[in-house]
């Protein structure tokens, strides 16, 4: 449909009413027609019951008419329900379509748009604001049609009963139509003032609370109170005015709708007394009058929904009514396959504010040549790289890739030929594999771009130096018996081999699962059970609710101790983390997760008010739950004294004996010959947990494990598992170096003809940086053209050419040795460094 092709920001709100909803809207119309009939039918039945059945004392007629009446009421209710279902369906479908269309539009907008737009504005527009217009779309046809038809049907029926009486009783409505919008307008104006004043009011409260120490320090309570009093008074006044107008709208509406029955009583009563109107007709008239109120009220409310929906929709679309800088895909040809020669001619770039960042840039690269852009911060290196990559829209001059002007290329042309690694690469929520394939997937299928194979991916991981990291993610995975039955057997063999060859020398870095020692890097639950549950209700997360386990804690005297420990952990953690946002970095060393914090804040408050002894059972459950999760090696806000460790260790033996007797087989106790499914692959191989996270420790463990995995030919299997590791929002579970390596790997996997790297290795250590540099020289030189913004000058020797930039200009360009020999700007820069 043509409407669907138009950008959402150019579409009217009404275009959504039928677009994609046509058949649902027709179905709705049919149901509405039935519904209107079912609303009028009872009126006629009322009349006949009074005039015929009651007057003529005919019971059979009474039963027949009552049956019709009941049938109409049931059918009417069913119709109403169906109408609501369809309205909801249309509203939600339209909301989904609006969200998709708006999101698709927004992500194509120029980068300059986002420099001036807060992410929150976009989120609010898509998540909240579109809900209001979509509600209107849901009822845009049904509400006015059904209510107008109902009104019309009632009016026709009334005229059919008695034209004079109908005309007089309906005369009140036109007056209401004139007066109500006028009052509504005033109410809207007052509402706007109320919203503005409320913002000021909130701002004032926030300011006072943040500066409360100043108020205390100056004893300025009176001053603050008087400032606050004035605002309260203003707000009170405007709220009264707003409320009065709202009530005026309501009362006026009520008044006019109530006038109808009054006129019917006066005139209808008179006519009935005079014998000119049947009593049954009068009853039907009164009923119809009363029923007129509902559709009328719904129409008035609909008017309000329409106004809100229109204003919100128009405001949202106006805000995002910005043209993308470049078309997304060519209309009449496949994406170009460009030769990667690069020409930049008289290039200039100005910011929106008219500040010149690039001036008369000229350079030329043959396909496969490598160029390093160097210079001080602010010299324009990144700006130039972004202009070449079409991320900045240059103001003048030319940038040509393979002879094609970049400003005339579509985004698809660029994606197919150019790979960009930005200064702060963005890693999206998802698995390592998804992020690795991000750039390749974006162009896969376009003009024969193949999807990389697993071998390609593993090769790139090796080249970039991410292989060991991904291996580590794989090693930190929990396996299940159902999906990896064969693998776990292999891992037991790996464990044996590992223990034989490397066990002893890693004891500084690993806390081995020792039946006779308290494990500081395992939770209290793990320490007590020293095993993995084979039944769900004995899993670590369920133990605080497991009756058998609770009885054991009571009888062994551990219950009160653990409750105290839980209380202490709650108080300390809430005190430290209580006001922090739910970011992973704050909760990695906490016994409670970010989403549990609000509940534990309530428990901490209960603890403060009532004390531990008077705490309600659900709160005590939470304390126990937390205590069982406590891992002294990780959670440092509470200490676990030696006497408590001894108690727990003694309880481990007692628990094992008791469970083996009462519930044999319910726990698989840690044993060197069994795989522990509650532990990661790494912990299974180590038969323990790592104690230290220093690079030295990680390196030592990784090296030894890799050696054994290679021997058992398991290395790539574990890496494949590691590729499913979820990197968290914005890749927060990765280090800065890992994020940067991942960003480089995803572009390398795409094998672009032109590679743009904007300080792409700044977060890498020396070894990794040298590895990437070496890779560029051996694998990419003569194959892909490279424009690299480089900060570290010790890495630029082997670039074909070096351009030194200063204040938006290239002040010198040539090979490294040539420029150094010239003793110009590069010589100066290298000397400074």
């Amino acid at each position: 449909m043509a409407k669907a092709d138009r950008p959402i920001v150019k579409r009217s709100l009404f275009s959504w009413v039928f677009d994609g909803n046509l058949r649902w809207q027709f179905l709705l119309l049919a149901i509405i027609a039935v519904a209107v009939f079912t609303r009028v039918l009872p009126l006629e039945m009322q009349k006949r019951i009074v005039n015929q059945a009651i007057s003529l004392r005919k019971v059979d007629l009474l039963l027949t008419y009552c049956a019709y009446y009941l049938g109409a009421v049931i059918l009417s209710s069913a119709c109403k329900f169906l109408i609501n279902v369809l309205e909801t369906h249309i509203a939600q479908q339209s909301l989904a379509r609006m969200r998709i269309a708006l999101y698709s539009h927004i992500i194509t907008l120029p980068l300059s748009f986002f420099r001036n737009t807060q992410p929150g504005t976009v989120v609010n527009a898509i998540v909240n604001e579109l809900a209001v217009p979509s509600n209107f779309v849901g009822s845009a046809m049904s509400t006015p049609v059904s209510n107008l038809l109902t009104l019309l049907a009632f009016a026709v029926y009334l005229f059919w009963l008695n034209p004079l009486l109908a005309a007089i009783s309906l005369s009140a409505y036109p007056a209401a139509i004139i007066l109500l919008p006028f009052l509504q307008k005033r109410a809207n104006a007052a509402n706007q003032q109320r919203v503005d004043l409320s913002r000021t009011f909130s701002g004032r409260i926030a300011e006072s609370i943040s500066g409360v120490h100043e108020i205390h320090g100056n004893g300025a309570y009176r001053i603050e109170k008087s400032k606050f009093d004035r605002l309260v008074e203003q707000l009170r006044r405007i709220r009264v005015i707003w409320s009065l107008y709202r009530f005026a709208v309501k009362s006026t509406n009520n008044f006019f709708t109530s006038l109808g029955p009054f006129l019917v009583f006066i005139l209808g009563g008179y006519l009935t007394i005079k014998g000119q109107l049947e009593l049954g007709s009068l009853v039907a008239f009164l009923s119809a009058q009363e029923k007129l109120y509902d559709p009328w009220k719904e129409l008035i409310e609909f008017y309000q929904v329409y106004q809100d929906g229109r204003v919100t929709y128009d405001r949202t679309m106006e805000f995002f009514d910005v043209e993308p800088d470049y078309p997304l895909a060519p209309a009449d040809r496949p994406a170009y396959e460009l030769q990667a020669g690069l020409e930049v001619e008289s290039l200039s770039f100005y910011t929106d504010g008219g500040i010149r960042l690039l001036d008369d840039i000229n350079l030329r690269l043959e396909p496969g040549e490598h160029l390093a852009l160097v210079g001080f911060s602010g010299s324009g290196k990144s700006t130039l790289a972004l202009c070449i990559g079409q991320l900045n829209k240059y103001s003048g001059g030319h940038v040509r890739i393979g002879g094609q002007e970049v400003s005339g290329l579509t985004k698809q042309d660029m994606a197919a030929n150019v790979g960009i690694v930005s200064q702060s690469p963005f890693i999206f929520e998802g698995s390592i594999a998804e992020n690795l394939l991000y750039a390749s997937e974006a162009v896969a299928g376009d003009d024969g771009h193949p999807r990389p194979s697993l071998d390609d991916i593993i090769a790139v991981l090796h080249q970039i130096g991410l292989f060991v990291d991904v291996l580590r993610f794989g090693l930190n995975t929990l396996l299940t018996a159902e999906t990896h039955a064969d693998l776990v057997k292999e891992i037991i063999r790996v464990r044996r081999k590992f223990q034989e060859k490397h066990g002893e020398k890693l004891s500084d870095y690993v806390e081995f699962f020792d039946e006779n020692a308290y494990l500081f890097h395992s939770s209290i639950a793990e320490n007590l059970t020293f095993g993995a549950a084979n039944r769900g209700d004995f899993a670590y997360t369920e133990l605080s609710r497991n009756d058998y386990f609770l009885r054991f804690l009571e009888q062994s005297g551990l219950h009160p101790l653990l409750l105290k420990l839980g209380a202490l952990l709650t108080q300390q953690t809430v005190d430290i983390l209580g006001n922090l946002p739910p970011e992973a970095v704050f909760f990695e060393q906490s016994p409670m997760n970010a989403d549990e914090l609000p509940d534990y804040k309530v428990v901490a408050e209960h603890l403060r008010r009532r004390g531990l002894d008077d705490l309600a059972p659900p709160d005590r459950d939470r304390l126990l739950h937390l205590a069982l999760r406590f891992t002294p090696g990780l959670h440092k806000m509470v200490a676990l004294p030696a006497d408590r460790q001894r108690l727990l260790l003694a309880a481990r033996t007692a628990f094992r004996e008791r469970v083996s007797r009462d519930l044999p087989g319910i726990f698989a106790f840690y044993s060197k010959s069994d795989y522990i499914f509650s532990q990661t692959i790494l912990n299974n191989i180590l038969f323990g947990k790592t104690k230290s996270s220093t690079p030295q420790a990680q390196e030592a463990i990784a090296q030894n494990i890799i050696q054994v995995l290679i021997e058992r030919d398991l290395l790539e299997t574990i890496v494949e598992i590691g590729m499913h590791y979820n990197v968290g929002g914005k890749g927060e579970k990765l280090s800065g170096g890992q994020r940067q390596k991942l960003a480089i790997a995803r572009v390398f996997l795409k094998s672009p003809r032109l590679l743009i790297m904007d300080e792409a290795t700044s977060a890498l250590d020396n070894t990794s940086q040298a590895r990437i540099q070496n890779l560029l020289e051996t694998r990419w030189k003569r194959k892909s053209t490279l424009v690299a913004v480089v900060h570290r000058l010790d890495t630029i020797r082997k670039f074909d050419r070096i351009a030194v930039m200063k204040a938006g200009k290239i002040i010198e360009m040539g090979a490294y040795d040539e420029l150094i020999a010239r003793k110009g700007a590069l010589y100066e820069l290298v000397g400074r460094k």
Binding site: E583, L612, K636, V638, A639, S693, G736, A763, D765, R792
Partner: protein, 175 residues
């Protein structure tokens, strides 16, 4: 409440100890308790064996170290030669500037014996300060004071020992 009071946070818990140490470290000592508590919680303790590097010259590891026990040596590599600069022992704090901004190490720090450190990463530091933007100036003030103090002591030391042509390179506090 009584049952809780008798087992209130034991003074020996690591978090409490970290808090005490940070309060005595110039970089953190000016901060209010609300943010200090979070830094104390986020710090980790790491043990380095003799010969291990805490950080290496030329790398941006983004970590600050407070030495709790042991002995380390600051070294500068020039070509093949490794020049020992000075020793950092128990109580020393190294890496405040690393926490503030990305910078490559000009020196390596190597453990001369088994050394235990309190370690805080730039990411943890930055994310915590994001919660208390008003406290950034306090950190900057502490750093400015430390740089000035360092150069002042250096200048005073120069009165006793001549440093040849090094006077031309003085003036780090003028930056």
């Amino acid at each position: 409440m009584s049952s809780l009071d008798e087992s209130s946070p034991t003074p020996s818990c690591e978090y409490q100890e970290n808090l005490d140490i940070l309060r005595q470290t110039y970089f953190f000592s000016g901060l209010p308790l609300e943010s200090l508590k979070i830094f104390a919680y986020l710090c980790t303790r790491e043990k380095f064996k003799e010969g291990d590097y805490l950080f290496r010259q030329g790398e941006d590891d983004g970590e600050a170290f407070c030495i709790l026990s042991g002995k380390t040596q600051v070294e500068r590599t020039a070509g093949e030669a490794v020049l020992p600069i000075r020793l950092l022992e128990t109580g020393a704090f190294a890496g405040g500037l690393t926490l503030i901004g990305e910078t490559r190490r000009l020196y390596s720090l190597r453990a001369l014996q088994e050394t235990v450190c309190l370690v805080l990463s730039r990411e943890k530091f930055a994310k915590t300060l994001d919660q208390f933007p008003g406290q950034r100036p306090r950190i900057f003030r502490a750093v400015v004071a430390a740089i000035t103090d360092w150069e002042e002591r250096f200048l005073e030391g120069m009165a006793e020992a001549s440093c040849g042509g090094c006077t031309a390179k003085l003036g780090v506090s003028l930056l």
